[in-house]
């Protein structure tokens, strides 16, 4: 039976004391959202599930060290982002190395196609066949994850800083560089 009344913090504390059902409730609450994030970071369903499993296993082992300095959601997100980065660096993700734009355009992502941006500006015409999110595959792990957190997940700079464990200034500069890189690739592909 699900415990819908307990707060996330209460569930984590109970789980840390050995209440297995409490941790299962945490899984029920966050699995779908975390799956979407994992998918955004690794680009396919199989790897997303594997990354999410590793994330939840890591979270369970870390329960005694959770100090409630961030929300449970941020804590889980942080574990997942690190797990996805480790996954990518280990080469276990299907697109282990950043793809070229042509490769990304051909392979695409398994699902989800962004609507084409308007093409009124000659300088920024978008090839409707190119899945813009596939271009994320061409970026480095750091640039990809910060763009996913900001553009796809809508996290604030403070939340991103907490998730990545970096200062806010680093979030600003890293996001700026990631966007520049993606814009240049996007423009270069379409020119």
């Amino acid at each position: 039976m699900r415990d819908l009344g307990a707060t996330d913090l209460e569930l984590v504390r109970r789980a840390a004391r050995g209440d297995e059902a409490a941790f299962h409730e945490i899984v029920n609450r966050y699995a779908k959202d975390l799956y979407g994030l994992a998918y955004s970071l690794v680009g396919n369903a199989a790897d997303a599930e594997d990354v999410l499993q590793e994330t939840l296993a890591g979270a369970y082992r870390s329960l005694p060290r959770f100090e409630a300095r961030s929300s449970v959601k941020t804590w889980l997100t942080r574990i997942l982002v690190r797990q996805a980065a480790r996954w990518r660096r280990s080469g276990r993700v299907a697109g282990r190395r950043p793809l070229s734009l042509d490769q990304a355009a051909e392979s695409g992502w398994e699902g989800g196609v962004a609507e084409a941006a308007e093409t009124s500006s000659p300088a920024m015409q978008v090839d409707a066949k190119v899945d813009v999110t596939a271009m994320l595959e061409t970026l480095s792990t750091d640039h990809r994850e910060i763009l996913v957190l900001r553009e796809l997940r809508g996290l604030s700079y403070e939340e991103i800083a907490q998730t990545l464990g970096v200062p806010r200034g680093t979030v600003e500069s890293r996001l700026y560089r990631a966007r520049r890189e993606l814009l240049e690739k996007w423009k270069g592909y379409n020119s």
Binding site: E20, H24, K32, G36, Y39, S156
Partner: protein, 157 residues
């Protein structure tokens, strides 16, 4: 596109992450810098393109597998605790045995008897055996030997 020193601020402005004063500063700059104005427009297009994307919904069967994986992790953790408990109790037992052996083999600090002179135990210990079956001198000698034996024995406690 040429970089302008305001580039990072334009990016943060696009995200609405600047305080009011810095936002005004950027707006003033945008009015005079075509490169930054074009950069901002590019960021808006990029965000619109990315916003249209959504990750696929997690299939229901994945949730079941996640719960199974968590249950496996719980079992593994419990086994780990049991192994640790066994290891610790083994260490504790070894420490106790070693400590006992050390105490038994270490030299006595005080060899003097701990009984007071008028202690009834000492009196009983020094009470000689009945002399009825032994000749006089032998009885005295036996008594002395017995007494010395008891004193020596008590001294070792």
């Amino acid at each position: 596109m040429a970089e302008c020193e305001y580039g990072i601020l334009v990016s943060a402005y696009h995200d609405g992450q600047l305080d009011a004063e810095r936002a005004r500063q950027v707006e003033g700059h945008l009015a005079t810098c075509p490169a930054c104005a074009a950069e901002l427009e590019g960021l808006r297009r990029l965000s619109r393109a990315l916003a249209g994307w959504q990750a696929p919904e997690m299939p229901d069967e994945v949730l079941g597998r996640l719960h199974e994986a968590v249950a496996g992790e719980v079992v593994a953790a419990e086994r780990g605790v049991l192994r640790l408990a066994r290891a610790l109790s083994g260490v504790a037992a070894a420490v106790m045995i070693a400590g006992t052996l050390w105490l038994m083999s270490s030299p006595k600090i005080d060899a003097k008897p701990t009984l007071a002179a008028d202690d009834p135990t000492l009196k009983v210990a020094l009470t000689p055996p009945s002399p009825t079956t032994m000749p006089g001198e032998e009885v005295a000698s036996a008594e002395r030997e017995f007494a010395q034996l008891m004193v020596d024995s008590l001294s070792k406690q």
